[in-house]
């Protein structure tokens, strides 16, 4: 084992790899990740879930998602329906695959939008400081004190042609604020470093300094926020759908599946209808969160093992 390791390193240097990253870089995060057995397991499980939902949805037939009263409420492991059917006769396995995919896509889209928005505003706010910072921070404070669930619920009922895309925008409207705050704090710390001043003295514009100098130095924070953000946003979507204000009823998601548990009869005697979605949501959130904390640990030297 030891010999093997040394050998590996030798091969690497012999190959003459001229590229080496600073110690706070991506390589260190990867090293930290590989050291943690459970993190590797988490990533494997997540990859399997992604394959299961995204590839699986290609094989889901249209009929299995159609209402078919005659096949209603078949229990799990019955012929043709591995996880049984719901009251309308829809195949639970198909719903789980398509719903899981929808939830994950929404989680990722919301995260992408809110991270990009948060990053730009956090960079501007932290880099310029002063009045600019004050204005942005007051706006963020204002948005953060709003009860976001309430407002999203009200807006979903007001908006006429309401679909997955509008839901993504609605959730993003509120979730960029915490990212902006998070990034701002790191930019504030970076701004005081002399390389920013050196860059200014070299004639670089503020925009160039923000995106070419400061941004690479907070890259590990971005990875952390992306990973943890995805888990959180899947949770928000699921919560809204569970309450009936998320995706429209025609579009399945983990939330609508868990929503079947609203019915006391379902919760007592038909666990196959809602339990698979609950288990899937738990696994996804827990695994993503675990990977996120490993990243966080790797980025912070004090927490490193």
């Amino acid at each position: 084992m030891l010999f093997n390791k040394a050998n590996k390193q030798n091969i690497k240097t012999e190959a003459g790899e001229p590229i080496s990253l600073p110690p706070s870089g991506f390589k260190l995060v990867l090293k930290e990740l590989l050291k943690d057995k459970f993190a590797i397991f988490s990533i494997l499980v997540l990859v399997l879930i992604l394959l299961f939902t995204f590839l699986g949805s290609a094989f889901v037939s249209k009929e299995s998602l159609d209402t078919n009263i005659l096949d209603g409420l078949m229990p799990a492991f019955s012929s043709g329906h591995f996880l049984g059917t719901d009251e309308g006769g829809k195949d639970i396995l198909s719903l789980l695959i398509v719903g899981g995919r929808n939830s994950i896509v929404i989680g990722i889209s919301v995260t992408a939008i809110s991270i990009i928005l948060g990053l730009v505003i956090g960079l501007i706010s932290g880099y310029f400081g002063g009045v600019v910072d004050d204005i942005f921070m007051r706006i963020i404070d204002f948005i953060m004190v709003l009860p976001r669930f309430m407002i999203i619920i009200i807006l979903t009922t007001i908006i006429s042609n309401y679909n997955a895309f509008t839901l993504i925008l609605l959730i993003s409207l509120f979730s960029w604020t915490s990212s902006a705050r998070y990034f701002r704090s790191f930019v504030l710390a970076q701004r005081e470093r002399e390389y920013v001043m050196a860059s200014k003295a070299s004639g670089s514009s503020n925009v160039a300094i923000m995106f070419r100098e400061v941004l690479p130095n907070i890259s590990s924070m971005i990875i952390i926020d992306v990973v943890l953000g995805i888990a959180g946003n899947i949770g928000i979507e699921t919560g809204l759908s569970f309450l009936g204000y998320g995706l429209p009823a025609s579009t399945p998601s983990l939330g609508t599946l868990i929503g079947y548990a609203n019915d006391p009869v379902n919760i007592m005697s038909r666990p196959w209808v809602w339990l698979p979605a609950v288990v899937m949501l738990l696994i996804i959130s827990y695994m993503i969160n675990y990977v996120g904390t490993v990243f966080q640990r790797a980025a912070d030297a004090r927490q490193r093992r």
């Binding site: 080496s20 600073p22 001043m197 860059s199 004639g203 100098e213 130095n217």
Partner: protein, 315 residues
């Protein structure tokens, strides 16, 4: 005609306090200083921590806004950012920073770090650019494989040489060297200073050499200015300052240089203590309410901040 003139430069920072966060007072980091730097010379700016010497340097590069006063370069007042842009000022005036680690972006390769000012001020093709960076690394005695490495892979002295290479990349006329060697150990200090001197000869660069180390300054500078509490206390040539110091603060700085003369150790100690005692007890004589007096000419090139009566009668 000198290269750059600093005229009555003031940099004040507001102190805010009270319920409405109003400006109640100012920190006078730089409080009315005048000096000129000639082409090709090394001008020394010396003072203790917090005396405003780095702030002065940053104002000259354009990193710090002046409260009032002028910095005249090529007949233009460059305290305004618009003037600096018009003149492509930073192409001619560059800076070497004290902390080589934090002044080099840890996520960028040496090639990109040194090429940054070139890309901003000159339009060179990729190959010319690479050749230029290669040359610059040669000048500061770095191996060419340094191009694709990251700053943390170098020692302190090597990093500071990279900082020097970046500063000379656009062939500037003036380089502000803000304590360029005070973070380095002695043998490496000499090495970096010699590279700086070599570059000065090659490109006819002026330096504003900011330091608290009088030994290093003696090695580098022809003309010196001693700064204290945001003002100049004594200005003169190397001879004037080292052999005929007039102001108590200058004397105090000079007394603080360790002397390699064990036989007269007691004498040096007594002298040092006498200077320190004079400085602490007779503040009123040398300072007006803690503020440095205006400069008076006492020799051909020698100025000192003393009151009129002290100049004529006291000596």
């Amino acid at each position: 005609m000198s290269l750059i003139q600093i005229k009555d430069l003031k940099i004040h920072y507001p102190i805010r306090s009270g319920f409405f966060n109003r400006v109640t007072d100012h920190v006078r980091a730089v409080d009315g200083i005048n000096f000129e730097i000639e082409e090709g010379e090394t001008y020394g700016l010396i003072g203790e921590s917090g005396s405003g010497k780095s702030t002065t340097g940053k104002a000259i590069v354009g990193l710090e806004d002046a409260t009032s006063g002028q910095i005249i370069y090529k007949g233009h007042d460059i305290t305004k950012a618009s003037e600096r842009r018009k003149l492509k000022y930073n192409r001619d005036v560059q800076m070497i920073f004290q902390d080589s680690m934090s002044s080099l972006n840890p996520k960028k390769r040496i090639f990109d770090i040194i090429a940054e000012p070139i890309r901003n001020f000159e339009s060179l093709s990729k190959e010319e650019e690479k050749k230029r960076v290669q040359e610059l690394l040669d000048i500061v005695g770095m191996p060419s494989d340094a191009l694709y490495k990251y700053p943390h892979e170098f020692s302190g002295g090597q990093r500071q040489r990279i900082g020097v290479a970046r500063a000379v990349a656009t062939k500037p006329k003036l380089i502000i060297a803000d304590e360029p060697v005070s973070a380095l150990d002695l043998s490496v200090q000499a090495q970096v200073l010699n590279f700086m001197k070599k570059i000065q000869k090659e490109y006819n660069i002026s330096y504003l050499f900011i330091s608290h180390d009088l030994g290093v300054v003696r090695h580098m500078c022809e003309n010196l200015a001693i700064m204290h509490r945001g003002r100049l206390v004594e200005v003169g040539t190397r001879e004037d300052i080292y052999h005929n110091p007039q102001h108590i603060y200058t004397k105090r700085l000079l007394a603080a240089i360790p002397k390699i003369d064990p036989k007269n150790r007691e004498e040096h100690k007594a002298h040092r203590q006498a200077v320190e005692k004079e400085f602490l007890e007779n503040q009123d004589k040398w300072y007006k309410n803690g503020r440095v007096y205006p400069l008076q000419q006492i020799g051909k090139s020698h100025f000192v901040a003393l009151p009129q009566d002290k100049l004529e009668g006291g000596r």
